[in-house]
């Protein structure tokens, strides 16, 4: 296409909500500490050294979520394990106690949805709250759903697909007011927006390291003091007996530094990435007729831009952009392996056509203005080409 000839081909990764690259400082830190191989539970000097670094990392992770006591953080294998630990705990509590109600939302990550479905299959009353057109929990519905029988309220802090941020403090107030345990999956929020376990009032908070430029296979769970925990993995005494298994030294060191850097850079990240998101959003709206932005107009992650392109199908858009070197995600059924488009997009009330034609651009700290302009220059021709051969009028 001649009109794009001034834009030489480049590779642009815009799928940071799927995962992030390991940042250089973190990689160097992990390599530097490779010799700290000793079992951090060992009492000898080598073990004590390894353990010391783990506790430093724990403090950094605690700081990222404004937790006063680093001991409230346990390390896990990632977000899915952290979320499942909370739901397994509720299973054990609910079997013994009177409170059994689980209240969560329709737009949670599959690891929360499926853990909640498991409890439902086990006979727990489970409510999947709907959301408004922007993806926010309706407080009046939450208030109706929560009562003296509610055991757990679990709501994600920010949505991975559309980026909508919940009013966590308000949700926490309702959950705690009813005497329920309150959990939030902050996998997407942490490192992108301020996370504060106290002002949110959470008892449990899930973290994942690979979403904040750290390694995969390591995550965390904040557990408020005296909140119950039933270990998912039984064994040794690691993590106060909450999570057995030899410490993942390198993963934890990487997580510590990634958390520290994310915390220190939060304001800059918001400013820079937020400006790039606006630039991309404006360019798309200016060049693609009928493009629709999904998610909350203000309470949204600074890096997440979800757009529906009626008349074009998401997998075809994704693969067209992929051929141009641009890596994105879609909520289309054709890419999910199921027959239905994204549960999040259906929950915010999008019709099948808008849901199938959705693309998630998720930007990151490495995204440049040039990247955004390159992507913006490719979208309009890709959409126009697919629309020209489409049966769908829009």
């Amino acid at each position: 296409m001649a009109e794009q000839s001034q834009n030489t081909h480049r590779t642009v990764y815009m799928d940071y909500n799927a995962t992030t690259p390991l940042r250089q400082e973190v990689k160097e830190e992990m390599i530097k500490d490779l010799e700290l191989f000793a079992n951090a539970s060992s009492l000898h000097e080598a073990g004590r050294k390894a353990r010391f670094r783990i506790e430093e990392a724990r403090a950094s992770v605690a700081k990222l979520v404004s937790a006063n006591d680093p001991d409230n953080i346990i390390f896990t294998s990632g977000g899915s394990e952290s979320n499942n630990t909370v739901f397994a705990t509720m299973f054990h509590l609910g079997r013994k106690g009177k409170r059994r109600g689980i209240v969560t939302s329709q737009i949670e990550h599959p690891c929360v949805l499926n853990a909640a479905m498991w409890l439902k299959d086990e006979g727990f009353p489970v409510t999947f709250l709907g959301v408004d057109e922007y993806g926010r929990i309706r407080m009046d519905e939450l208030e109706k759903a929560v009562g003296p029988d509610t055991l757990l309220v679990s709501v994600m802090a920010a949505n991975n697909e559309i980026g909508t941020i919940q009013d966590m403090a308000a949700i926490g107030k309702i959950a705690k007011g009813a005497g329920a345990w309150f959990h939030s999956d902050a996998t997407q929020a942490a490192g992108k927006v301020p996370v504060n376990v106290d002002s949110w009032g959470v008892d449990y908070l899930t973290l994942s390291c690979h979403k904040l430029y750290g390694p995969k296979g390591i995550g965390g769970l904040y557990i408020r003091k005296k909140a119950p925990v039933e270990p998912l993995i039984r064994g040794g005494h690691q993590e106060h007996g909450h999570r057995a298994g030899t410490y993942n030294n390198q993963g934890i060191y990487g997580f510590g530094l990634a958390a520290e850097l994310a915390f220190n850079e939060l304001a800059d990240y918001n400013k820079n990435v937020g400006a790039l998101r606006s630039r991309l959003k404006d360019a798309i709206l200016n060049t693609v007729p009928k493009a629709k932005i999904n998610g909350h107009p203000e309470a949204v992650l600074p890096n997440t831009l979800n757009v529906s392109f009626p008349g074009a199908e998401g997998e075809a858009i994704l693969l067209s952009l992929d051929l141009e070197g641009i890596r994105v995600s879609t909520g289309s059924a054709c890419a999910s392996g199921s027959l239905d488009p994204s549960h999040v997009l259906l929950a915010i009330g999008l019709g099948p056509e808008l849901a199938h034609g959705s693309i998630r651009f998720s930007l990151g700290r490495d995204t440049s203005t040039g990247d955004v302009d390159y992507v913006a220059s490719k979208i309009a021709p890709v959409i126009a080409r697919l629309r020209a051969m489409s049966t769908v009028e829009f």
Binding site: E313, L323, E353, L386, A388, S390, T391
Partner: protein, 200 residues
Amino acid sequence: MSDAFSWIYSDTVKEHFTNPKNVFRPDEGFDHNAEGLTGNIKCGDQMLFMLQIENDSIRDVRWKTYGCASAIASTSMLSEVIKGMKLKEAYNIKPEDIVKRLDGLPSNKIHCSVLGDKALRAAIDNYLEKNGRAGEFRNEGVKIICTCLNISDRDIEDAVKQGARDWIGLQEKTKIGTVCGGCKEAAEELLHEYVHIFGE
């Protein structure tokens, strides 16, 4: 990055996706005497075939597709294959024939994206109907699923088009599987596929 990762499907699929053949262009004013539409937006794929038929042969064809890359590629490939073909032969084309010519597709892509044969049959039926020959190819290319009662894949397709959505509904319309029941698995697989394509 190795070339092996530069594209997800076969090179033939890539060629037909990036450079599709016989796409309908409104400014071209394509003169056609048959039209068929299949699939629905809810499941993410829809195809329209327009045929120029002369002496029971397909002289020329145009199409439109809303769908994923393999849907676009398979429609494009089909449109090339049927040019000059006798109607009866075209009516007998199976998704597998198209998949083979595309040098393969992942199995999860075949059922949902290779709908072109159905849109094509709809277009041919449309032509036959307009010329007082409705149902002439009714038994072309059918596969018997229930051997006890001689019920074909086409019968299952028709039952779904008439509203059958589950096994009970299908049995009410066709009596399938009411003798030995040995066809249930194959029939349910087709039922699932057709509900996906033709269900609202």
